[in-house]
């Protein structure tokens, strides 16, 4: 990851300076940072889909059950009473498992001594209980890819559209990148509505911390127009000149398109027409709106990257965003100890979360989807086991604990940013946002053997259709919708119109999809009214 001149020692040296600069920038209040951000109007609504990839089980978090509450405590994955926290005014719970000392078995331990990032579920509930809606849900597939897709399409209830596509269609027509997807496998797939407008389709982002580099046809590129020999054009006269030369070159290109035999002969080609239109409209806007700066996550000098030598800069807002998202939730470290790199590079979830916020805060995007993959991440193995939540196949308790901590930590940081970001219209971004913690399915509820000690033995669980869904938003009424049978750990549903628990109701993906669309004021044909999860 370093160029040939960048030894580890040099990197750390450079990194120190970069870190100092970043820290200085991060002390600027968000509102002031926003002044230098895009002055585009904010979208009316935001959908943030953070994927709890692999199967996040609700009875290991917000619907946890105490041993004393269950007649089958020995057989089920229930927890000591002291570890299951309740809170006044809400039925939501939190599961705070203790850390164990070195060499001593513990609930949280996996792959030796690893115990997760330590972010406490109770912290999240205490901060955001009024916004957290947990709804009972029975999925329809135990296959990861299929289930992931169904979680986002409501099992095809809206013409096969994903939530992101639907929301982007409503709120994204004038946006540069209305629908951005950085997710994995089934969460990355497009929906199947052939009539979806092109602007609402996924813009796939592979490498979030380098995405900015792909948002300009020339800036930041060595040897681009206007620059000195073997150099990138510098901000100022060189870059201005380069831009002007590029504009003229693009104009000449348009002339060539009209003049060439190829251009004339194939002018009926729709895909060619599309690229030409994109060049003249959205691609031009991406450059004009300076996404390469606004989404640039690197600081000057980080990893030996001399941004300035490439004619690039970091934005205040990006620095402030990193200041919130990047620190480890318990140690506060911003440098990954395994690699010695910034967390923004070492931890994909950090970069994704930063980019998700920046895209929305700059008014470029109305819907972002991101989340962990199944790829083992050696540098952050202490926070994320291989296969994310699906590591429950090996060690359910530890996997669920580590991953819920991770997902809720990222969500907390996102909400923090959103709450502090005014829209310029009298409200904050948070007031307009819905966060959907999409997951594949639940997990098996039983221990592998009656009386199995969860603190000592690894419980292996498979995929299970019975679970719940988590939607977090000020646009929805927080609470638990449905109920959990403490003797089976199965959830059962609720009346969508009243919100009252109804054991005879089976909630499906289309209920969750409908609730999210209702919160975002994005109705669709056949939508199920979910008035029971809203205030008033």
């Amino acid at each position: 990851m370093t160029d040939q001149h960048n030894s580890r020692r040099n990197f750390l040296k450079g990194s120190g300076a970069a870190l100092a600069a970043l820290t200085a920038l991060s002390r600027v209040p968000l509102a002031r940072a926003l002044e230098s951000a895009s002055n585009k109007p904010m979208p009316k609504r935001f959908l943030f889909t953070l994927t709890a990839t692999g199967g996040a089980n609700l009875t290991d978090s917000f619907l946890a059950v105490r041993e004393s509450e269950s007649a089958n405590a020995d057989a089920l994955i229930v927890y000591p009473d002291t570890m299951v926290k309740s809170f006044p005014g809400t039925a939501l719970r939190a599961l705070d498992l203790p850390f164990a000392p070195q060499g001593v078995p513990g609930y949280r331990k996996y792959i030796g001594e690893l115990q997760g990032c330590g972010y406490k579920q109770s912290t999240f509930v205490q901060k955001y209980a009024q916004y957290i809606a947990v709804m009972a849900l029975e999925n329809t597939s135990v296959n990861h890819g299929v289930a992931q897709k169904r979680a986002l399409t409501g099992d095809g209830c809206n013409r096969g559209r994903t939530l992101a596509e639907h929301v982007s269609e409503k709120y994204g027509q004038d946006l540069i990148l209305p629908n951005v997807n950085m997710a994995f496998s089934g969460y990355l797939e497009s929906g199947s509505d052939a009539n979806l407008p092109a602007y609402a389709r996924n813009e796939v982002v592979g490498i979030p911390y380098l995405f900015a580099a792909g948002t300009d046809g020339m800036r930041g590129m060595k040897r681009a127009l206007g620059g000195a020999l073997d150099a990138a054009p510098q901000v100022g006269a060189e870059l201005d000149r380069g831009r002007a030369l590029m504009a003229r070159a693009r104009a000449a290109r348009s002339d060539l398109e009209a003049a060439s035999l190829f251009g004339q002969t194939f002018q009926c080609s729709s895909v060619r027409e599309k690229l030409l239109a994109l060049r003249n409209t959205k691609a031009a806007a991406v450059e004009t709106d300076d996404l390469i700066t606004k989404l640039m996550l690197f600081a000057q000098g980080e990893l030996g990257i001399n941004l300035n030598s490439f004619g690039l800069e970091t934005s205040l807002l990006a620095a402030q965003t990193r200041a919130v998202v990047e620190p480890h939730p318990t140690t506060g470290a911003v440098i990954n100890p395994a690699l010695g790199w910034p967390n923004m590079v070492a931890d994909p979830l950090v970069a994704q979360t930063c980019l998700a916020y920046l895209l929305a805060a700059n008014g470029f995007t109305t819907s972002v989807t991101w989340g962990p993959t199944f790829s083992p991440q050696p540098a952050i193995l202490d926070q994320e086991p291989p296969l994310a939540f699906d590591y429950s196949h090996q060690d359910h308790v530890a996997a669920q604990s580590a991953m819920w901590s991770r997902i809720l930590d990222a969500t907390d940081k996102l909400i923090t940013l959103l709450q502090q970001t005014p829209t310029g219209e009298g409200d904050t971004m948070w007031d307009r946002s819905v966060i959907h913690l999409a997951t594949d399915f639940g997990r098996d509820k039983e221990r592998n053997a009656v009386g199995q000690d969860l603190a000592v033995d690894d419980v292996s669980t498979g995929h299970h259709l019975n679970n719940g869904a988590v939607v977090i938003s000020p646009l929805i009424k927080g609470g638990v919708y449905g109920s959990v049978n403490p003797d089976t750990l199965y959830t059962s549903g609720f009346n969508p119109m009243t919100g009252q628990a109804d054991a005879n109701m089976t909630m499906r993906s289309h209920h969750i999809y409908s609730a999210i669309c209702q919160a975002l004021d994005a109705p669709f044909p056949g939508m199920t009214p979910m008035n029971g999860v809203f205030n008033g």
């Binding site: 296959n143 299929v146 095809g156 002969t265 009926c268 199944f374 790829s375 196949h393 056949g526």
Partner: protein
């Protein structure tokens, strides 16, 4: 009176709920339909939703519903109802329903219509053979699509105006089919949706090698679902068969500090406390014995990733159905319900109305897969005929009948045999290359030549090379 009739229609119509047998009935009624050539229609032909709690129909479906009063025998009534609305234009796109059905566009979708573009007018094009097949254009496309690079000016100069243009075009294809780009890049990417690797070991390299092997050198593509061998790559780009069992190592000693003694597809495998060991396959093992193999259906990765921990490998069967017959059950494609199914042998509740629509096809597809391990002791893909009994799926001697495309199958090899003899298999193979070469699915106006393409496979020994030679002759490839 009219209002009463309307109400009656609605009342009667609501009893005619979605039936997963409908796709097959439709294609039996219209065997010449472009929508059915080598495939089956899906429920979305008539439905916007097939959920029992809120079944909904599109314009064509509503027309079918309203065509007659539905009696109790859906299977008998549907063909009649369809015939009654043939002259209608349900989606208002000016083409009547029967024309759309035969041509292969969707009668409920106004945007799905064979396009007859206005003919070009004017002087002859000075550089392209507009209105006909353009050999230079096709040559350039062959070079880019198959060789991964545009032809040079020198090459094009040699072709232009040449009487041997056709031969040069096909010679170019031959050369490109030998190229590293085709063999090592394109074919790998073509296999991605079927293999679905993840960053969890590299056992899937066996699957990619098998795929590339079968797709090259004119080999019989039916080996994809029938091969009893595996393939190694001892040198980069050189694929060779491994017949019989795949050994843990090839007996070549190595030292981990000097792994150069090992072949390209090997690594130096050493015990914990030693630097010395033997060269072993870097992608791991293939424990399944040859007599139970069926090509890509029985690789270790395939069962590891798709079966995982499930007792009845439904996802495994669905992935095979999707990958080799182009029927994605998750999209209600390829529904051929078996009566009295699903039996719900593992008590997952798939016999509920909402689930049975698909599981009445999927579960019978899956039974023969149950004799192969998922992630369990012994290793994924190991054949164990007692596994279904051990997993509590059924009792000894009482296995439910597995069926594929309506035909009984007793083993996974049978499954592969039925698959490879079917039209959907041929169509899928052609589709793989068509999508790569043309860049999209066949359009309604191109269905005739696409159908002829896959129907030619038996004549060409199911050779991928031969198929591609025919493909580049299509109008879809080279006509302007």
């Amino acid at each position: 009176m009219q209002i009463l009739l309307c109400m009656l229609t609605v009342l009667v119509a609501t009893t005619a709920v979605a039936k997963p047998i409908a796709p097959k009935i439709f294609c039996d009624t219209y065997p010449d339909s472009g929508l059915c050539a080598g495939t089956l229609v899906t429920c979305s032909l008539c439905h916007t939703s097939t959920s029992p709690s809120h079944t909904a129909w599109n314009d064509f479906g509503n027309a079918v519903l309203g065509a007659r009063d539905w009696e109790t025998h859906f299977a008998n009534d549907l063909p009649t109802a369809l015939s009654l609305i043939e002259q209608d234009d349900s989606d208002g796109d000016t083409l009547d329903n029967i024309s759309e059905i035969l041509l292969g566009s969707l009668p409920a979708d106004e945007l799905s219509i064979p396009t007859v573009p206005d003919s070009p007018q004017g002087d002859p094009n000075p550089g392209y053979n507009v209105g006909g097949y353009d050999f230079l254009f096709a040559y350039r496309r062959v070079s880019i699509v198959y060789c991964g690079q545009s032809p040079s000016l020198k090459e094009l100069d040699a072709i232009e105006g040449s009487d041997a243009a056709y031969n040069r075009l096909h010679d170019k294809l031959d050369a490109c089919l030998q190229s590293g780009h085709w063999r090592n890049v394109v074919l790998d990417r073509m296999a991605d949706p079927a293999i679905k690797p993840i960053n969890f070991g590299t056992n899937w390299e066996w699957d990619y090698r098998l795929f590339r092997f079968v797709m090259t050198e004119g080999r019989d593509m039916r080996d994809l679902v029938s091969a009893d061998y595996h393939v190694r790559e001892a040198q980069p780009g050189v694929l060779t068969k491994i017949e019989g069992s795949v050994p843990n190592h090839n007996g070549v000693p190595c030292n981990k500090n000097d792994p150069g003694t090992c072949a390209f597809d090997e690594m130096c495998n050493t015990p914990k406390e030693s630097d010395d060991g033997f060269c072993a396959y870097a992608a791991g093992r293939q424990p399944l014995e040859a007599e139970h193999r069926a090509g890509m259906l029985t690789t270790q990765w395939f069962h590891f990733f798709n079966t995982m921990f499930s007792a009845l490998p439904r996802q495994t069967a669905a992935q095979a159905y999707r990958s080799w017959l182009d029927f994605d059950i998750a999209r209600q494609e390829g529904l051929m319900p078996v009566s009295n199914e699903p039996l719900d042998v593992d008590g997952k509740g798939v016999d509920q109305a909402e689930c049975a629509q698909c599981h009445s096809t999927l579960d019978p597809l899956s039974y023969v897969f149950a004799s192969y391990n998922g992630i369990e002791a012994g290793g994924a893909s190991v054949y164990d005929p007692s596994r279904p009994i051990r997993k509590g799926l059924w009792e000894e001697g009482n296995a439910p009948q597995s069926l594929l495309l309506g035909q009984p199958v007793e083993t996974l090899q049978d499954w592969g045999a039925v698959a490879m003899a079917s039209d959907p298999f041929k169509r899928k193979l052609a589709l793989l290359f068509y999508q790569h070469a043309i860049g999209h699915d066949p359009r309604p106006e191109d269905l005739v030549e696409f159908t002829a393409l896959w129907q030619s496979l038996p004549n060409d020994g199911f050779s991928a090379n031969a198929l591609n030679h025919r493909l580049i002759d299509l109008n879809a490839f080279g006509a302007l």
